[in-house]
């Protein structure tokens, strides 16, 4: 088999030309063609649900809870102790923690208490199947929907918030943005080559209602999501 041979399928030019033909262009589009007029403006007065003036931590906490996540409030100083206490209460024997300066103290505290704790980067995806809880930071949090934004970039990965049945996310208040429009507008200048390969908005534990509409959690992804909300930072 010649692995350098082109794949089956049509060429880019021929494929896009079919689209141009359907749009009744006289000739297929080229880079020299002018850009179309801009799309409809995303009118905030129509779409915005949460405004910047609202009590964002409060709105976020309520919406996250409504989505089935458990929200625990803490402070910067108490974060490590509260995380350890949470892990204890969940009886999570093996924990994987995202490698972030903000979470550094947690690793040693857990080991000190006899838990098997490892940095996420040292646990490969396959080994995560045997981990009980994953602790991650977030890139942002969205008050409108109570969502966590988890990125795979800058030395992270995807597995910690996906594979273990328990996911604990640490959210700093300053990371909360009011509305989906705010979060996605922050990507206005994002470039394909600098974006992480994966950004996921997480809003609740994994769920399904496929069997007779009965709601079941923890189908594939985590069955519990805990948010450690740091109020003073």
């Amino acid at each position: 088999m010649n692995v350098n041979a082109p794949f089956p399928g049509t060429s880019r030019g021929a494929f896009v030309a079919r689209v141009s033909a359907a749009l009744e262009r006289k000739a297929p589009i080229t880079p020299a063609d002018a850009a179309p007029p801009p799309p409809a403006t995303v009118n905030e007065s129509v779409v915005r649900v949460v405004g910047a003036g609202e009590d964002l931590p409060d709105v976020f906490a309520k919406r996250a809870a409504a989505a089935g996540m458990m929200v625990h409030k803490t402070t910067g100083a108490a974060l490590t102790d509260d995380l350890v206490a949470l892990v204890d209460s969940l009886a999570a024997g093996r924990v994987a923690i995202q490698d972030r300066d903000s979470l550094a103290g947690v690793l040693s505290a857990l080991r000190h208490r006899g838990r098997k704790a490892d940095l996420g980067g040292t646990v490969d995806f396959a080994a995560l199947y045997d981990v009980d809880a994953g602790i991650t930071d977030v890139q942002a949090a969205i008050a409108e929907t109570g969502s966590l934004v988890c990125s795979s970039g800058s030395g992270r990965g995807r597995g910690l918030s996906l594979v273990p049945p328990l996911h604990i996310a640490v959210v700093w208040c300053s990371q909360i943005v009011p509305d989906l429009v705010d979060y996605w507008a922050s990507h206005a200048g994002s470039l394909p080559q600098t974006l992480p390969s994966s950004i996921v908005l997480i809003t609740g534990p994994s769920k399904t209602a496929d069997i007779e509409g009965v709601l079941i959690t923890g189908v594939h992804g985590p069955r519990e999501v805990h948010v450690m909300l740091v109020l003073d930072a």
Partner: protein
Amino acid sequence: MTPSPTPLTPPPAAPVHEHPLNVPLPYDLKPRAAKAIGDIRLQQFVGSATKAKDHGRRDGFRDVFGDRYDSLRTLAGDIKQHTLDHLDWYLERFIDNAARAGVQIHYAIDANEANAITLEIARRNQCRLCVKSKSMVTEETGLVPALEAIGVETVETDLGEFILQLDHDAPSHIVTPMIHKDRTAVGRAFTRELGVPYTDDPATLAAIARAHLREKYRHADLGISGANFLIAQTGSIVLCTNEGNGRFCTSAPRIHIAIAGIEKLIPATEHLAVMLKMLARSSTAQPITCYTHMITGPRREDEHDGPDQVHLILLDNGRTEILRKETRELLRCIRCGACLNACPVYRRIGGHSYGAVYSGPIGAAITPLLKGLHNFPDLPHATSLCGACFEACPVKIDLPKQFIMLRKKMVEQGITDLRTRAVYRLWGLMLRWGWTYRASSWVQRRVLRLLARRGDSRRVMPPTAGLAPPAKVRADPFEDNAWLSHAPGPLGEWTKERDFPTPTARSFRDWWKDRGGEQAEVRGGQREGNGDTR
């Protein structure tokens, strides 16, 4: 130099089951529809599930957006329409950006090409086990049997699709594919195919599935997904799911193939915000799905996990035909299923009655366009044009208008039978001139009222308990409709399950004339004295 791969051997032939979507063409919808209407269980399941989601959609939007709902739908519709109106430009931009992100992009004109590309990627990477998340496009192309034919074990991981695959069944709803199946059927399928003791408790069944599928994720070397949106600005693929299987399929295996119709494009991330506000609320009355996953290329050097290769297959398969101006709005569809949940016809006949991958109102419109109007002549007609679908659609697709346009095409292409065309043409002529109108009204009145007089004495049905003899005999000639329980000609279909009224003894025109309405006839804009225009 890589050693030549061991040839893949196909698995032993699976027993042949009649797949609900293998229908003889042209497809006659009536038998399946009749069966569904008579199936009490199906009526209850589909009826309650769709009503709950439809009401949930309305309540959800009202509670959060109040009277902005209509403007939101207009905005979302405008964004999609704009993208479609300039689809080639946005496609080019998307392709360039996806390439910058490291995605390998392929172009499939039809289902065969899409499958061929997928199989080739699997072969070159020696894939043996594929985990797949829910994708209507792969149903459309028949990808799973093609992969299995070359020896790639392919497992559906979406719980509903997993169960359907085990049970050799097909999805019947765009979003909730097993709306037609109950827990006992699931339990039996699990026992039969997985060898587990019988249970029909949903939580236990889900746990069994979870364990079984985790084993698959562990060993899979290929993951296949669809896409909810493609973002031109960043070359990203967006997946909106609730279960987490989509994340597994696109993160655990080393190769990820996404297959997406070209209509999935939107211009930029700011537009994704609008679409996300519309999608889950329209679909299942949730504010947002559990996971909104934006994938921009394969794993980066500094990331711990993720696929080594990400392939995207852009699919045409008839979409450029629908892209033509008349039908273009149909491609705005974001596959939310709101139209299915709102449709009084879908609610009663269920998804399998449509005989195709896409069911409900949107399916009834696009299936004839994708697969030939002459193959699915019932779909544009099996609707009362009530407009509930249009009212529910988050991107304001005018589905009733599209159905009428498809019916027009059927007449123009001679698909509508000769008898029907003759009847309508004759009917049109009868209404076209004053004298033909008056003559045909007179004939209708006399014939039907005569039949009613005769019919009453020949009534086959015994008098019904609720119908006491009337206290007063209605003598008013302007409201004395009689009734037929056996109407003549095509009206005979009507009277199978309900009665048909006759005209009254005298018409409105008669009343107006009695009143001295002659003057008014002249005043009504006509120049001729008898009020007739020819």
